[in-house]
Every structure is written in C-alpha cells, then in structure tokens.
C-alpha cells in the first residue's frame, strides 16, 4: 500500500509495477495454457470440432500435457500474487467496484456506438469493470475446474462441486472460451487505444 502511494506522489502512475509484471507473466502463461489446452482437447473433443493443429502447442498429446502442467505453476502462482495484491492494496476495490448494471448498459451503448471516452486510463468505465472482474472470476474457475480434472480422486470433493469429472471438463472448456473471448476484445481495444498498451508497459 505504501509503495503505491509513494509512486503516486512522484508521478501519475496508472499501473504500478506489480500489476505490469503480473500482467505480462500472465499473458505468457495463458498463451501456453490455451495453446497446449487446445492440443489436449483435440485428443478427446467435447464437441464436433477440433482446433487446427497449427495453432496448438506441444505437437502431440504428451508434449501438450508437459507444457500445460509446467505453465500451470506460472499461471497459478502469478495469479495468486496478483489477486492477493489486488485485494490487499485495495486496487480491486478502487478500480473494479462498484459495478452498477445501469452504468454497464449506458457505457456498453456508448462503446458500441464508439462514443465511450478513454481519456483517463486510470479510471475504468462500467464495461471495463465488468470485463476485468469477469475474467478474474473465469481465471479462478479455470484453475478450480482444472484441479478437479487433474485430481478427481484426491480432490474428489472439489470435483463433486463441479458436478463430477465429466462436467468439470465442460466447465474448464467454457472458462477457456470466456477467457479467449475476453482476449479478443481486450487485444483489439489495446490496439485501438495504443496508449493503454504503453501504460501497461511503462506504467504511464
């Protein structure tokens, strides 16, 4: 908390260093998790499609599993650091709350008609608040459903919470789909508003 206040008094920092480090570590981890996850999915597809092998990671099932179960540590440890700091520095409360449905509707309308202001990068509009909170929840869900697929005997209580092993696979898939959908919007907007990308690199 003190570190952040001190930085703020020196220069208007939009994203403190820990946010930026966590962001880019997470970007790397999630890319590996998704790429290898798609290859793992292809070994036993839940739906009538598979992912094109060229956009998957690992080459074959065993390779993908090695990547997946290595990058999971990066994803989980980094995620725990991020969520813990987000809560205890008060950043989540300040940036992401409250989310008022009426504001979400009006901001969404403004966004879709390209009239949503992005002047102040340190302030999130209601749609951003909803998306960022949503993707954090999807991240927590993907870890918990992943744990229940990985350890359906040792963590069987958790697996049961997801409706059993087979259902947990679907939860894991849809959490991935949610994160991928978020990424599509997130990356597109970062490219449309390049200063937001700069802020995540330099902090300002």
């Amino acid at each position: 908390m003190t570190a952040e206040t001190m930085t703020l008094s020196v220069a208007p920092t939009i994203h403190p260093r820990w946010v930026r480090i966590c962001h880019w570590v997470n970007a790397l981890a999630i890319l590996v998790m998704i790429g290898s996850g798609w290859q793992i999915y292809n070994a036993s597809p839940l739906f009538g499609f598979t992912f094109p092998p060229d956009i998957t990671l690992g080459g074959w099932l065993a390779g993908a599993l090695l990547w997946h179960f290595a990058a999971m540590w990066l994803f989980v440890v980094n995620g725990i650091v991020y969520v813990t700091l987000g809560i205890f520095t008060g950043r989540f409360r300040k940036k992401l709350l409250p989310i008022r449905p009426a504001e979400v509707v009006s901001d969404l309308k403004a966004a879709l008609t390209l009239r949503l202001a992005h002047d102040d990068l340190s302030h999130y509009n209601a749609v951003q608040k909803l998306l960022y909170s949503g993707v954090i929840i999807a991240g927590i869900l993907i870890v918990l459903s992943g744990l229940s697929i990985w350890k359906p005997v040792q963590f069987q209580e958790l697996t049961a919470l997801f409706g059993g092993y087979d259902t947990a696979r679907y939860v894991h898939f849809f959490a991935m789909a949610t994160i991928v959908a978020f990424l599509a919007v997130h990356i597109a907007l970062a490219l449309i508003v390049p200063k937001s990308l700069r802020a995540m690199v330099t902090g300002r």
Binding site: G35, S44, L57, G59, G63, L66, Q154, A160
Partner: protein
C-alpha cells in the same frame, strides 16, 4: 533392445506394435516441433529457449517435479469414488495403441505369472492359483490421459494382499509390470499398497475378456488409464525405476488422479 524370450501362455508370434502412428514424428523430441504457438512464445520472451533441448529438459524437469508433488498429494487411504451398477458404461471401451483384433491372445491354460525382485517367494502363479485368491470388487471410473472417462466393474484380489503373500519388501520404491505384448509400467509402492489397487481377473463378474486384458489387468483407480496395465504376465518389486511404455515417450510418470 527388447528381449524376446518365450513367455508362458503367450503367442510368440505376437509383436509389439509401435505407437508411432499416434505421434506426429517418430523422433523422441517430436513433440516440441510443428507448433505455431512456439513462435509467439519466442517472440514474447525475446529468446529462443523454446526450440531445442533446453526446453525439453526443462519440461521434463517440471514433470519430475510434478511427480513429487503428486506423490505428496497422494493419500494412501483416500478411496476413489465408487458407483452403482447402473452407472457402468456400456459398452466399456476397448483402449490400446493397437486395434482390438490385434490385442494379445494369452493362453490361460499354460499361463504363468512371474514374480521377481525383492520378494521372498519367486514361484510363478498359474491362473488357478490366482483365481483362488480372496476376491474384492469395485465399480470405479477409468480416466484416460486423453480426457474421456468410463465407469467399469472389476473383480480380483488386492495387490497389497498379493504382495503380502509373496513376502514382498514393501519398503521398496516400485512395482514393475510386464505385459504379454511388451507393454510395461512402473508404479510407486504407496499406490501399489492402496486398498483399491487390484489384480483384476474379471470384468462385471465375468472372466476378463481378451479386449479388457485377459488373463490379468492391474486396476488402479487412483491413476490414469495407461498406468493400468492389461495382459500382465510378470511383476517385479524393485528400487529401480524401470519406466514404462508411455512414460518413456513423455507422459507424466506418476499420473495420479
């Protein structure tokens, strides 16, 4: 490399089929190639650690680390969930790296189960001997490394009971299994002693059909399917990790559930 000695009860013409058709490349490091995602990774990290032996050795190190984590998580008394008969998957899938009509055909009449390594009694066991062992039953979920799962019903004797009867040194680290077609598997001793780890002779109360591993399968509901060997012809209690068919190709060694 593979020793071809005559195994009692096994058709000597039986040859191990290579699983190369399941892999993009026959080479051991094939799994690191042909992935567009690698380019993105190299771009993001700004270095070329991904494409080469260092990446493979890092991944294998992490996999070994994960073996340790799983051994720690493993609870020797925690039972895998069991299911009612109505939950049994019908038909229970045949699963191997070869087609069903290529599955080993073991002759039960001259079958001999060989016991080796750190045991007091190395006499081999006929099917009659094995069928006389106390029977236990389980209806549990088989989880494949590919992701799918199926519920089956297995009967046989607990491996821990068998280990006791042959006077196995249960302080040894591993139990190694050898199968009729050349498939092998090594499991850790704590898993071998788990109450649900079973030397299986029956599926759904009938003698194991050829498709499910006649005459013996080792059913381990706390491990992925490929750690449940079928057509088992020999076992060894050992302190040396002798690896296994899929483990040696890159699948995680412990593969616990």
């Amino acid at each position: 490399m593979r020793q071809r000695k005559v195994i009692p009860g096994v058709d000597p013409k039986l040859l191990i089929k290579d699983a190369a058709n399941l892999m993009p490349e026959a080479s051991r490091r094939g799994f690191l190639r042909g992935a567009a995602g690698l380019g993105a990774l190299a771009f993001l990290t700004g270095c070329d650690i991904i494409d080469g032996e260092s990446a493979e050795s890092v991944l294998r190190k992490v996999s070994e680390f994960n073996d340790g984590v799983q051994a720690t998580i493993f609870n020797g008394t925690k039972l895998a969930p069991t299911y009612p008969e109505s939950a049994i998957t019908k038909p229970f899938p045949f699963n191997a790296y070869y087609d069903e009509d290529e599955a080993p055909e073991v002759n039960g009449e001259n079958y001999k189960f060989e016991v080796a390594g750190l045991v007091d009694n190395k006499k081999s066991w006929t099917l009659e001997d094995l069928y006389a062992l106390p029977e236990v039953s389980q209806i549990t979920r088989h989880v494949c490394v590919e992701g799918w799962s199926a519920i089956g019903s297995w009967q046989g004797t607990t491996l821990s009971e068998f280990l006791k009867r042959v006077g196995a040194d249960t302080r040894a680290k591993y139990v190694w299994f050898k199968c009729a077609e050349g498939y092998t598997n090594t499991i850790d001793m704590p898993t071998a002693l788990h109450p649900q780890t079973q030397m299986t002779f029956k599926f759904a109360n009938r003698i194991l059909p050829r498709a499910y591993g006649f005459p013996m399968k080792v059913r381990i509901p706390t491990k992925l399917g490929f750690k449940n060997p079928k057509y088992v012809v020999a076992m060894e209690v050992t302190n040396t990790d002798k690896g296994g068919y899929w483990e040696d190709k890159g699948y995680n060694w412990f593969s616990g559930l």
